[in-house]
């Protein structure tokens, strides 16, 4: 059971209050993009074993989207941050590096 804190309203709750939304920080490729880019955006996923960034929605709360940084091997949650970002903010990256020195950083 994950415990997540919604960065929009500040509520900390169990995962049942939230809805998972898949890999975060995807760049959208829509009409006019080539087949490779579209396939990659639509279907191909990193499926990381370790540090993972993932979209969540506070479905039974404020309804806002946010991003959680967590580990897929231990289920540890490193932190959450608002969805209006294109890559993990420095504060979260530092927290992860403190706990996972071997982590190669966000790619």
């Amino acid at each position: 059971m994950l415990l997540l804190t919604c960065p929009c309203c500040g509520v900390t709750a169990e995962e049942t209050e939230f809805a998972p939304g898949g890999e975060a920080h995807l760049t959208r490729h829509g009409p006019g993009s080539d087949d490779d880019a579209f396939e990659s955006y639509m279907f191909n996923r990193k499926n990381v074993m370790g540090v993972h960034f993932e979209r969540w929605r506070h479905a039974y709360g404020c309804g806002k989207w946010f991003i959680a940084a967590r580990c897929t091997v231990t289920l540890e949650v490193f932190g959450t941050y608002p969805a209006q970002t294109t890559e993990p903010p420095p504060g979260i990256v530092e927290k992860i590096k403190a706990k996972r020195p071997e982590w190669e950083g966000y790619k």
Partner: protein, 414 residues
Amino acid sequence: MKRYSAFAIAREALRQHRGWTEAWPSPAPRDRYDVVIVGAGGHGLATAYYLGKNHGITNVAVIDKGWLGGGNTGRNTTIIRSNYLQDPSAAIYEKSRALYETLSQDLNYNIMFSPRGVMMLAQTEHEKRGYLRTERANALQGVDTRFISPAEVKKLVPIINLDGPRYPVLGALWQARAGTARHDAVAWGYARACAAMGMHVIENCAVTGVEAVGGQVTAVNTTRGTIGCKKLGIVVAGHSGKLAEMAGFRLPVESVALQALVSEPIKPCMDVVVMANTVHGYMSQSDKGEMVIGGGADGYNNYTQRGSWHHIEETVRALCETFPMIARLKMLRQWGGIVDMTGDRSPIISKTPLSGCFINCGWGTGGFKAIPGSGWAMADLMAKGESPLAGAFSMYRFREGRFIDESVAAGVAH
């Protein structure tokens, strides 16, 4: 390798059972093989078996990072059925079910196939219409299914409650020739048959890299040395993404946890498999008397082989309404497996961008039933470069927009 038979048991009984030999040896890896299969689960071993049996390719090694059948092959709820909606799925799952019928004889190993029948309950009007459609589709595909009335459901499953207030039983899609089998025995039987053909089954040998020259696979690096190969088959379910990364390509796969649980053993009370897809639960009774219950999958990436508690609660709550008598059962064990889900919830049996490298993955929540058919198709593909069964399951279908959309047809319990 000695054959197993009633005569062999009688012979060994006369000499205190001291003549039995190991079912398969544990050889050290050679420098090279014609074919290396990564992953000694059901699908990997079946691939090796049909490479030998159907195509005469026996210079084969099946390597695994852990022990044989230690992944999802030993973690599923052992259901075998083929009542799928889409033609490519029905073809491969029906081939698989048919192979299961005679697999004990083929392998000379008792896999305890029990064609006890599988029913999928229709608990909403929408679901009922869906199953009536599947019944018609199955008739055209040559899969023997029938939509049965609530009265027939009650006759087959006396412990069921037909008029649950939330989800009444409106009928069921019934496949009489579907059933269950002993999951470990399927892996063990294939491993023994592979070893009998001279193949190597190598355990505790993790792959650390894939070597290629000019876009053609040449070897795999492992914790037990480099093993050369002309062809490489990757059959590693939840860890496909990691192997694909080593081989230099990406997959449309995400790994999530799927859970199951078993109750304390009770006297025989249900001799069919019942799936209730609307409420995400399914149940059968094992030969030991335990009620085997499968539940839903988590919606987020996970490699921990354990799932969320609330899924167990949802599954058990729904099953208690449908089967009131199980409400007082204690649960003995609960476990999770990492399932590899694709974008359209159908598997991938495919060539890859790396020449000589083939992949079989994405079976998601329904891989056990497909083991013989999947191995058959993968062996065809690896030996001949094409397979009528595997054709539609290419990994390039996502790019081309040719989905096999079973997620709508099969629900979650799959």
